[in-house]
Symmetry: C2
């Protein structure tokens, strides 16, 4: 019965707090409202302070019962209350006014999520937005979640990770080969090895986690018109095309490099499963143009599944009840779809 | 009566041939089919070889009568035939197989269009796609149409021009501050002067030609998240923000720099009339994602109006009857909307 049984077990997700002065806790309350009564929806627990959350629900007039819980109780509890695994740190900052004093709790929430997945007490991690400058002021040295999760994979799972950021939406999935670096550094960061490694991880995970038998990858050029035969830059000829050739040699359906500007209309999108861009804006622009508020950030290359909403802390609207939970809800659904059933398996074993 | 009279005079447009091995002549025939019977549509004449065009119409089974004409006859003729101002060079290349022998005719067609507008025999120029590598092999030294038209402005109109490329669609209008250069060169090409000059030209022409009383300009950052306060690049702080401040000091409604990835969703687009990007793909990606086949390329900063379809020669589908004339039709309509009534005025004077 194995396969069939596991496929029917609902997934249990660990949701981090994020920066408590941002919209993370508000959208978590709203996501619970949207999902708890839906039979096939994934259950989740949040790692935060239960009093912070119930206070926020009251202030925003959201009818969300909040209950402190252990992870093992969370799946059953989820249908009638938002289960909260207690983070022993209450928020210091106010909505829209982040405090460096919250950095430790924000980081701890992420670490706890990774430990709970490692221990089989959750199936996947969904993270709420953090503010890098707030964490940085408290000594956090990672450029973002993605890189920090790579470090946690090493510390907690004892595995070398090579995190790759995938942005997913129903219309389009994209991967930036370089991420949070100044644009001026992109040309020298691009290399044959980087693109081959990125393409291999993407192809493997689209097959193993997304269930796409033979994923079709397309690569963007770096330059306008993909360099137009070397006329406007040679990176396509010297780096991208050889990497695509190597991936094909390994049996991966890779194509390109193509001019990025004509790669994201509906007709072009029908021809591939994921587009790999050379830098952040090249692929974040089209997905956020097409699927604003519905795109999900997925970290590939980790020993666990991690998704997050594709927006920031939104300090400007925090605490006002105006935050849209669509992207978080999409992130929760996608995490459940991608996650192996380790916690559920553990619970029934 | 002045204003009202001129506003009713239909505009007459000069359409260049483009590379005769591309789809330019095919979409011209299709544009005539779509527009000639429409009362308010602009009239145009093509600068090409009449026998080339009538032969192509026959081969593609398009019922388009082609007639050699002088510009002054074109407006009246347009309702029952496609008027062709004869270029004394027949095409040598075959569809999809461009020939360097056609470069001279391709260039001459553009020059003739500029001279006819200067002489008051056409109101604006609409250009068909050219292939830069074909022209380059024949000694053409300009990176593209935009730069060549700047040179013609100097030669033919005796005015120094500073051409600025605007991409226009009903959903979005964008300007790249740098255009056909390798991405690696963009950071050092950006300057305060470049952005202030570009912003001023854009604001002036949106007011004078597009009739927007107080155009709202937004500027993209260069780096991911617009540098996130200097954390990922300093061009926003050192170049873009000071240029925006200077434009505001001059009374122009400029804003930014903003992260480019969140600037092109419907809600963000409602807040501005034009987005100025730092490089080609940053703004070509969103407009071609949103308005593929309907975007129009407009050159600002010239002493005349010039538009073109926002696609290339499409050699791969040339001669097959499959080319889509939507973008050319949009380019013809926009040119007519933007053009002052100089030719019509000349004809009735």
């Amino acid at each position: 019965m194995g396969e069939r049984f596991f496929a029917r077990v609902p997934r249990l997700l660990a949701l981090t707090r994020g920066d408590p002065s941002g919209i993370g806790q508000e959208i978590a309350l709203k996501a619970w409202s949207a999902l708890h009564a839906e039979e096939a929806a994934p259950a989740f627990f949040m790692i935060a302070d239960p009093d912070d959350l119930s206070g926020l629900a009251r202030r925003l007039g959201l009818a969300v019962p909040v209950e402190a819980a252990e992870p093992r109780q969370a799946a059953a509890l989820f249908r009638h209350a938002l289960p909260v695994v207690t983070l022993r740190r209450r928020a210091e900052g106010l909505p829209g006014q982040p405090s460096a004093a919250d950095a430790a709790g924000t980081i701890e929430s992420i670490e706890m999520a990774a430990r709970l997945v490692q221990a089989g007490q959750a199936d996947a991690i969904v993270t709420n937005p953090i503010a890098k400058d707030v964490l940085k002021s408290a000594g956090f040295a990672h450029p973002g979640h993605t890189e920090f999760l790579g470090e946690l994979a090493r510390q907690i799972f004892g595995r070398k990770a090579r995190p790759v950021m995938l942005l997913w939406s129903p219309q389009l999935a994209v991967v930036p080969a370089t991420i949070h670096v100044p644009l001026a550094e992109v040309p020298r960061l691009l290399s044959f090895d980087l693109l081959v490694e990125t393409g291999s991880i993407v192809a493997n995970e689209l097959r193993d986690r997304f269930g796409i038998a033979a994923p079709r990858l397309v690569f963007c050029g770096l330059n306008p018109h993909a360099g137009e035969g070397g006329y406007m830059g040679r990176e396509e000829i010297e780096i991208v095309a050889p990497a695509v050739a190597e991936l094909r040699r390994r049996g991966i359906e890779a194509q390109g490099p193509f001019p990025a500007d004509t790669l994201f209309n509906a007709r072009a999108r029908a021809g591939y499963d994921v587009a790999i861009g050379m830098y952040h804006d090249q692929v974040l622009i089209p997905i956020k143009t097409l699927a604003f508020d519905r795109a999900v950030n997925v970290t590939l290359g980790l020993p666990f599944v991690r998704t997050s909403p594709d927006h920031g802390t939104a300090f400007d609207i925090a605490g006002k009840g105006r935050a849209d939970a669509s992207s978080l809800i999409a992130a929760l659904r996608l995490a459940a779809r991608l996650a192996p059933a380790q916690a559920a398996l553990g619970a029934t074993a």
